[in-house]
C-alpha cells in the first residue's frame, strides 16, 4: 500500500475511573482497546457499532483531541503522537471533523462568517473582505446561498446547519475528514441531500472520509471499507462488499438483522440482540461478545479470538470463522 494516508497500529485509550483516597484510579474504562487498520487516499471507511462501543473515542484519539494511552498513528507519513506542538498544529489543517449534532456544534452567537471563517483566520491569515469572499465561496460549494455569510445558525434548518459544519471542516482543504454520524439527527430527505453532497465533494476535492454511523444503509451507500466495533475492539473489517455480502462475525450479522428496511414485512422479521452492551470497565472474558452471542460455546468464554484473514483484506475475530475457513480449505 504505497499511498496509505492513515496507519493505525494497536491504538489504545483507557479512561481512569477515580475513587477512594486521593482519587486514585481504581479501574479503567477500556474505550478503545487495540485497534489496527490502514486507510488509502480517497477511500471511505465506515465505522459501525452500537453506542458505547468506542467509535467516537477512536476518532477523538485519531485527531488527537484525546491523548492516547498507547499505540501509533501515522498520518500522511508523519507520526502524530510524537510531534511538537507547532507541527501538530500544521498537520491539523489536514484533519477535520464534522460533528454529530449541528444544533450543538455551531456557536449560536457567531455569524456564519465567523464560524466558517475561524479556521481560515487561524491558519491562513486572512481577514475582512477577503474572508467574506472565501466564506461565501465555501457556502456556495456546499449548496448554500452566498448571502448566508451574515446570518446566524438559528436561521438555518437542520440540514442546512450540517452544510455549514461541512463548510467549516472543508475551509482549510483538508485531506482527511471525520464524519461523526453526520445525518443521525436530520430527517430522511435532508439526509439524502447531505449524503449526495458529501459524495460530490469527495470526488471533486479528493477527500478521504472516516464515516461513523449506526445506520448501515448509510454506510453501505457511502463506504468502500467497513470496520465493525464492539466494546473497544474491532470485530470485523474489510471491503464493504465483502462485509455486506459475506458477513462473517455474528455481531455484524445481528446488526444487519436489526434494521427494518422497505422489504421488512411484519415485526417478526427483524431480530434483536439479547441484552445490552456490557460495561467496558470489566469487559467479559474471552470473546467480548460471548454474553450476547447466539453461537457462544465454552471456548468463547475462555479464549479471546484473534483476527482471521478471510482473503481480500476481509478480517474478522471469531473462533468459528477460523474453523469454517479451515474445513473449507
Amino acid at each position: 500500500m504505497a499511498d496509505s494516508i492513515l496507519k493505525v497500529k494497536d491504538l489504545k485509550k483507557y479512561f481512569p475511573v477515580r475513587g477512594g483516597f486521593f482519587s486514585k484510579p481504581v479501574a479503567w474504562v477500556k474505550a478503545v482497546d487495540g485497534v489496527t487498520f490502514e486507510m488509502e487516499q480517497g477511500e471511505v471507511l465506515g465505522l459501525v457499532g452500537e453506542s458505547g462501543c468506542g467509535k467516537t473515542t477512536l476518532v477523538n484519539v485519531l485527531l488527537k483531541l484525546e491523548e492516547p494511552t498507547s499505540g501509533e498513528v501515522h498520518f500522511d507519513g508523519l507520526d502524530l503522537f510524537n510531534m511538537d506542538k507547532k507541527s501538530l498544529r500544521k498537520t491539523r489543517k489536514n484533519l477535520q471533523i464534522v460533528f454529530q449534532d449541528p444544533f450543538w456544534s455551531l456557536n449560536p452567537r457567531l455569524l456564519v462568517r465567523d464560524i466558517v471563517g475561524e479556521p481560515i483566520k487561524v491558519h491562513a491569515n486572512c481577514s475582512g473582505e477577503q474572508l467574506v469572499k472565501k466564506v461565501g465561496d465555501l457556502l456556495e460549494m456546499v449548496g448554500l446561498p452566498r448571502n448566508g455569510v451574515f446570518k446566524y445558525p438559528h436561521e438555518f434548518s437542520g440540514g442546512e446547519r450540517q452544510r455549514i459544519a461541512i463548510a467549516r471542516a472543508l475551509a482549510l482543504s483538508p485531506k482527511l475528514v471525520v464524519l461523526d454520524e453526520p445525518t443521525s439527527s436530520i430527517d430522511v430527505l435532508s439526509q439524502a441531500q447531505i449524503l449526495e453532497l458529501l459524495k460530490d465533494l469527495k470526488q471533486s476535492l479528493g477527500l478521504t472520509y472516516i464515516l461513523i454511523s449506526h445506520d448501515l444503509s448509510v454506510v453501505n451507500y457511502m463506504a468502500d471499507r467497513i470496520a465493525v466495533m464492539y466494546l473497544g475492539k474491532m470485530v470485523e473489517y474489510g471491503p464493504a462488499d465483502d462485509v455486506f455480502g459475506r458477513t462473517a462475525h455474528p455481531y455484524t450479522k445481528a446488526l444487519f438483522a436489526a434494521i427494518p428496511t422497505l422489504d421488512t414485512e411484519g415485526i417478526d422479521s427483524i431480530a434483536t440482540i439479547e441484552g445490552s452492551v456490557p460495561s467496558a470497565i470489566n469487559p467479559p472474558s474471552g470473546c467480548r461478545f460471548h454474553t450476547r452471542c447466539p453461537m457462544a460455546k465454552e471456548i468463547c468464554r475462555q479464549k479471546e479470538p484473534v483476527m482471521v484473514d478471510l482473503g481480500g483484506g476481509h478480517r474478522a475475530a471469531c473462533h468459528f470463522i477460523g474453523k469454517d475457513a479451515k474445513s473449507a480449505c
Binding site: 452500537e50 453506542s51 449548496g143 434548518s157 437542520g158 442546512e160 443521525s184 439527527s185 436530520i186 430527517d187 430522511v188 430527505l189 435532508s190 439526509q191 439524502a192 441531500q193 449524503l195 449526495e196 449506526h214 445506520d215 448501515l216 444503509s217 448509510v218 453501505n220 451507500y221 457511502m222 464493504a240 445481528a254 446488526l255 436489526a258 434494521i259 427494518p260 428496511t261 422497505l262 422489504d263 421488512t264 414485512e265 411484519g266 415485526i267 422479521s269 427483524i270 431480530a271 434483536t272 440482540i273 445490552s276
Partner: protein
C-alpha cells in the same frame, strides 16, 4: 361496528405576523380498533401537530382549530371541555413523546414518576401504586424492576428511558396510543427492541397505535396501513404493501428514493431543491414547487383524493391521467 377513530375535515392553522397559516388539512382519516397506523412525512409536514391536536395539547393563541371533528368512540374530542379532556388523556388516549431524554423529569426517580401517574388517576394508596408501578416496569420488559424503580433518568440508557416512557403512557390503561417517532436518536439494536415491545404490547393489550415516523422502513416493519403527509395534507394512503410496492404520488417516491440502498444508485436528486415556503395565494397542489412532474393543472387546482385500488388513495392529478396512472414507469426501480 362503527368507526373507532375518525378525523373529518380537520383544519388547523397557526397565527403568525404574516397572517394565519394553515398547517394541517386532513379530509378523512380512519383508524380501526386494534390496528397500527403509520404517519410518514419529513420534518415540518405536520405529524406532531396532528398528534397534539388529537390530545388537544396545542396551545392556542398561536394555533387555531378552524374546522373539523375528531371522533373517538363516537364523541367529538374537539367539542369537549378541558375538564373532560383531562380524563381522556392518559386513561383513553396516551402519547409517547419523541425524545426520552427530555420527557422524563430529571429530579425524580422513574419509579416515583410512574407512581404519581397512578396516584393522580386512580384513588389508590401509595403501597398499591408502588405495586402497580412495579408491574408496569415488568410489562415493558426491563429486568430487575425493583432496582430500576429507584433510579433517576440519567442513570438509565436511552432505550431503558424510552421503555419507562412507554410504561407511563400505558399505566392508566389507555386504549389508543400515539407514538411520535419513538425510536428517533436510538441505536439500531435498541430501536429493534422498542419496535418489538410496541408490537407485543399492541397484540397483548389490543391498543390502537398511531405511529409517527419519518422513515418508511420503520413503518413497513410495524404498521398495516400508512398515510403519507406533506405540508399538512395526506397525499397518499393505503395498506403498507399498496403504498410501498406501488407508490403513486411523486412525494412518496421521493421519500422512498431518499433511503440509500445500493452503492451504484444515487440517492434521489429531486429533493436538492431546498424546501420553499408555500405560496399562500397558491390554490394548487402543495407539492407543486418541488414536484418533478408538475403540470399546469397542478398550479391552479388542488388535487382531491382518488381511489387507485382496494384501499389505496392518492391525491395527485397525474395519478389519474389516461388509463395507466403516473406511477407505471417508476415501479421497476
Amino acid at each position: 361496528m362503527g368507526e373507532y377513530f375518525k378525523i373529518k375535515e380537520l383544519r388547523v392553522g397557526f397565527k403568525t405576523f404574516e397572517g394565519q397559516k394553515n398547517v394541517l388539512d386532513i379530509d378523512t382519516m380512519v383508524l380501526n380498533k386494534g390496528e397500527t397506523f403509520g404517519i410518514v412525512g419529513e420534518s415540518g409536514a405536520g405529524k406532531t401537530v396532528l398528534a397534539l391536536t388529537i390530545l388537544r395539547l396545542l396551545s392556542s393563541p398561536p394555533s387555531v382549530i378552524e374546522s373539523g371533528s375528531i371522533l373517538f368512540n363516537g364523541e367529538d374530542l374537539l367539542q369537549k371541555p378541558e375538564s373532560e379532556m383531562r380524563k381522556i388523556r392518559g386513561r383513553h388516549i396516551s402519547m409517547i413523546f419523541q425524545d426520552p431524554m427530555s420527557t422524563l423529569n430529571p429530579v425524580f426517580t422513574v419509579g416515583e414518576q410512574i407512581i404519581r401517574v397512578f396516584r393522580n388517576n386512580k384513588r389508590i394508596s401509595r403501597k398499591e401504586a408502588e405495586k402497580e408501578a412495579l408491574g408496569m416496569i415488568e410489562m415493558v420488559k426491563l429486568p430487575d424492576a425493583k432496582n430500576i424503580m429507584g433510579k433517576y433518568p440519567h442513570e438509565l440508557s436511552g432505550g431503558q428511558r424510552q421503555r419507562i416512557v412507554i410504561a407511563i403512557a400505558l399505566s392508566c390503561g389507555a386504549e389508543f396510543l400515539i407514538a411520535d417517532e419513538p425510536t428517533r436518536n436510538l441505536d439500531v439494536t435498541i430501536q429493534a427492541g422498542i419496535l418489538k415491545l410496541i408490537a407485543e404490547l399492541q397484540r397483548e393489550l389490543g391498543v390502537t397505535v398511531l405511529f409517527i415516523a419519518n422513515n418508511l422502513g420503520l413503518v413497513s416493519a410495524i404498521c398495516k396501513r400508512v398515510a403519507i403527509l406533506n405540508a399538512g395534507r395526506i397525499v397518499e394512503t393505503g395498506s403498507v404493501r399498496e403504498v410501498l410496492k406501488d407508490p403513486r404520488h411523486p412525494y412518496t417516491l421521493t421519500l422512498l428514493n431518499a433511503i440509500p440502498r445500493n452503492k451504484g444508485e444515487r440517492v434521489n436528486r429531486v429533493n436538492t431543491i431546498i424546501k420553499e415556503e408555500r405560496d399562500r395565494d397558491l390554490r394548487g397542489c402543495r407539492y407543486y414547487s418541488r414536484c418533478m412532474e408538475k403540470q399546469e393543472i397542478c398550479r391552479d387546482s388542488e388535487p382531491t383524493s382518488g381511489l387507485i385500488l382496494g384501499t389505496h388513495w392518492v391525491a395527485c392529478h397525474r395519478a389519474f391521467e389516461g388509463g395507466e396512472p403516473g406511477g407505471g414507469q417508476h415501479t421497476e426501480g
